[in-house]
Amino acid sequence: MKPAAPPALVVNGRGMRVSAADKRKNLLTFLREDLDLTGAKRGCGIGQCGACTVLADNRPLRSCHALVADVLGRSLTTIEGLAAPDGSLHPLQQAFIDHGAIQCGFCTPGMVLTAHAFLLKHPAPTREEARKAIGSNLCRCTGYQQIIDAILAAAPHYKK
């Protein structure tokens, strides 16, 4: 018995193998078209808006600008993987709802994941740090204020 090879890619905790053809695919296209994980959005296609943000080993990654080959061996989290397996929302997701941080929702998956990665590293941020943390994610609806409110409200949940 040969030991099983490690999975090529882990997406939301699920290991999977990818074909040679898949490896050449754009990561966002692969997630959306092949895995039907449509939470990550294509807003600009050039890595400017952040709507396509996913986490690779808990670090934000612009999936529109990456190939599947770029993330082999890493653990990806998409917005679909943030809630608990029983469907209950992550405290950060709940904070976005409670603080009115969601309007059209197109930036929301990328915004939530960017904030999540930030809070994992900085569980007690100032308002200014939270503002800077989402400085590369565009939102045209909210003016960002309630998103910052939500990040600060969720921060205590990240303290170990």
Partner: protein, 748 residues
């Protein structure tokens, strides 16, 4: 009763925060094809031929569609039918679509589109709207006879006498640029022909009913055979009207011709190249002010660049006409606003709709006038502002609602500490970075006004288990319209919101309620919901009134019960059951027609809007002495919203509107070269980031409007129309220099 006001709530928030919400491009249908548009290199050209022979042989190509394939009418438009869905006789701007390529995969469609050749003879182009009005200018639409799309006039009092009575005359020219809506979701459509022959359209659009009209005329099908189904949408801001409908129409034709479902999703570059923008304005003002500090006369001429197509230019410029003097009493006015065809990208509806441009001008002009008259900007505004019973420049008496302009003004002055801070403004002096504070005021006519037929429908259907279905003609653009409608109904029926399910409406189930624009969603949709709820209450009360020992009109709906004045009560669900047992439905169609308005096109006089909202915004900033970089420090906004239906969503409109207004004030403008847009994505078109924005303070005033059945009015656009002039005024107070062109922060 649950927490209606203290905590944020939206019916779609959980789906959006988990990625479950499916926007148009997230949907797939079995056998689905992909379509992409084909543009040409031209700006103005006579179209000769679309050569698709090579492209047709590309792998995966199923069909290439041109104007020749259109079974119905290829020309559409909400006012003038001058907009070809697929280019026929001419290319009129660089975003005209000459063909659509349909293929098995999107990548195949994109590859094939590159092989389509558009053959045309270049024609002299006209890119400057003033030149376009000169005799001999190339005509964008020959059949129209001139490049003038429309001209509105406003004549009030005696302009000559007004200037004769003036002690001070202020003359100034202002300019504003093309601005992009920059909704995060580019246009998309997914269409199929169902087994019953109905053409089903899903798409990212904010006007299902005009999309249905465009699609039905384009395909030559009756309205009843086209069904536009609401789909989550990633922002519109007025921008998902005409262009979004064209994307839907082309996709529907592709589905009809191939017999398969077809999806067309736009790249950001296609979206920015093709979609209409906010109108650039050239405004020449002359204002006369008396020795008493009162405005005696305003003479103004405006030219708006309409680009290649009419779209809603006459409506946009109409609002500019009505609001051209700001919220001030001016007895003598001579105004003209012209919208003009050019070969630039066309322009149309964008949040504000003709007000951001004039506000930028007038709110600087009043400060310039104040200075000449030896008054502070605050005092000058106080002397001239509209008050209860004032007559507007169109002859409308402001009555029937609370004219709260002085209230919003006072609140912003107090909360921002405006007058104290103004004393500290640098005015171009000092060693440090310049510091300044500025503000702007506005009034705004609510909903469409005399620009269009204005009414809206809602359907309330109480089920026999006490749950409630609600549908309205208002569209969820991302602003939270559905949630607002649910909250209004919950209050009207006295039940918890959890009972109510908003059924995403289709154009086949709710009568044409026009488009969700003009900040009319809450007031018009809420009005229709209130009317439907009132009818349902009467039905339910009628079934149990005898038992309660009172008249149906006396039954009160609260806490999930129907209660008589004598204290007897029946559960809401029980009352619903009773009706069904009596073979009656607790069901009603509510209709809210906007109250009467009038307009005389020749004089520009009339009751332009049935009610008005009032707002004031202020901003504090620094300007780098060497860099010229503007940094916003704090911002305040006070708006009278009639009634707050959903506080968190309301705040979101405040903050989002202020941010978009800040972008307009600071740096937003589309770059163009010879009729070609050179800003085609977020790397070359800058919108505000979190780090560009200051902390914002929202001040909500609630004076319930008797003409709004729900008491609520508007916020979407009022919040968006004041930050740019406030920034311009703050910039002046900081640097001592006026900026008469937007954006204020343009690198010069």
């Amino acid at each position: 009763m649950d927490d209606l006001k203290d905590k944020a709530w939206r019916n779609d928030a959980a789906a959006k925060v988990t990625g479950r919400a499916r926007y148009t491009d997230d949907l797939k249908l079995p056998g689905m094809l992909h379509a992409v548009p084909v543009y040409s290199e031209f700006v103005h050209a006579r179209l000769i031929e679309v050569d698709s022979a090579a492209a047709a042989k590309s792998p995966g190509v199923v069909r290439i569609i041109t104007a020749r394939d259109v079974p119905g009418v290829n020309r559409c438009g909400q006012i003038l039918k001058d907009l070809h869905v697929l280019a026929d006789d001419k290319i009129r701007y660089n975003g005209d679509v000459a063909a659509v390529v349909v293929a098995e995969t999107r990548a195949q469609a994109v590859a094939a589109a590159r092989r389509v050749r558009v053959l045309a003879a270049p024609w002299p182009e006209v890119l400057d709207p003033e030149q376009a009005l000169l005799p001999g200018a190339p005509l964008v639409h020959e059949e129209h006879g001139s490049n003038l799309i429309h001209r509105h006039v406003i004549r009030r009092g005696d302009i000559d006498r007004g200037f004769a009575e003036s002690a001070h005359i202020i003359e100034q020219e202002f300019r504003t640029p093309f601005v992009e809506h920059a909704y995060l979701e580019p246009e998309a459509a997914l269409c199929r022909v169902r087994g019953d022959g109905i053409v089903e359209v899903r798409g990212s659009m904010q006007h299902p009913y005009s999309t249905r009209r465009f699609v039905s005329e384009f395909l030559g099908l009756p309205l009843a055979r086209v069904e536009v189904v609401g789909t989550p949408m990633g922002g519109g801001f007025g921008g998902k009207d005409d262009t979004a409908a064209l994307v839907c129409a082309r996709t529907a034709l592709a589905a009809l011709l191939t017999g398969r479902p077809v999806k067309m999703t736009y790249d950001r570059e296609w979206s920015m190249r093709e979609s209409y923008k906010r109108h650039p304005y050239l405004m020449r003002y002359r204002m006369g002010v008396g020795a008493d500090g009162l405005i005696k006369a305003v003479y103004v001429r405006m030219v708006a660049d309409g680009g290649a197509y009419c779209s809603v230019s006459p409506w946009v410029t109409w609002r500019s006409t009505v609001q051209c003097c700001g919220p001030y009493v001016v007895p003598n006015v001579d105004g003209e606003v012209s919208s003009v065809y050019t070969n630039n990208v066309f322009t149309g509806a964008m949040r504000g709709f003709g007000s951001p441009q004039v506000n930028f001008a007038i709110e600087q002009l009043v400060e310039m006038a104040a200075e000449k008259a030896g008054l502070s900007g605050v005092e000058f505004r106080r002397r001239n502002m509209v008050r209860q019973g004032s007559t507007t420049i169109t002859g409308q008496v402001l009555e029937g609602h609370v004219v709260s302009l002085s209230q919003v003004f006072d609140r912003v002055l107090a909360e921002s500490g405006y007058e104290e801070k103004l004393k500290r403004a640098s005015r171009g002096r000092g060693e440090d970075d310049y510091y300044g504070i500025g503000l702007a005021l506005s009034y705004r006519g609510v909903s469409l006004g005399a620009e269009g037929t204005d009414f809206c429908a809602a359907v309330v259907s109480v089920q026999y288990d006490g749950s409630v279905l609600l549908e309205t003609g208002v569209h969820e653009n991302g602003q939270g319209a559905e949630s607002a409608m649910i909250l209004i109904l919950a209050e009207e029926l006295g039940v918890e919101r959890g009972r109510i399910v908003y059924r995403r409406s289709s154009t086949s189930s709710v009568p044409d309620s026009a488009t969700t624009v003009a900040s009319r969603g809450t007031i018009m949709g809420g009005g229709a919901v209130s009317r439907a709820a009132a009818a349902v209450r009467l039905q339910m009360a009628g079934a149990i009134a005898a038992e309660l020992g009172c008249a149906p009109e006396e039954v009160r709906f609260a806490g999930g019960r129907l209660t008589a004045p004598n204290g007897k009560s029946v559960d809401f669900t029980e009352a619903a059951r009773r009706l069904y047992r009596d073979q009656k439905y607790p069901y009603a169609l509510g209709v809210f027609p906007a109250p009467h308005v009038t307009w005389d096109e020749h004089t520009g006089q009339g009751k332009a809007y049935f009610t008005w909202v009032y707002g004031c915004q202020a901003v504090e900033l620094t300007v780098g002495r060497r860099t010229g970089r503007i940094k916003l420090l704090n911002a305040w906004a006070a708006h009278d919203v009639g009634r707050a239906v959903n506080s968190a969503a309301l705040l979101g409109q405040f903050y989002g509107g202020m941010a978009m207004g800040a972008g307009y004030g600071l740096f937003e403008e589309l770059a163009m070269k010879d009729g070609h847009l050179t800003s085609l994505n977020y790397d070359t078109y800058r919108i505000p980031r979190a780090t560009d924005m200051p902390e914002m303070t929202a001040i909500i005033l609630e004076n319930r409007d008797p003409l709004s059945p729900s008491g609520a009015k508007s916020i979407g656009e009022p919040a968006n129309e004041l930050m740019a002039p406030a920034i311009a005024n703050a910039y002046f107070h900081a640097t001592g220099q006026r900026r008469f062109e937007l954006p204020v922060g343009r690198v010069r």
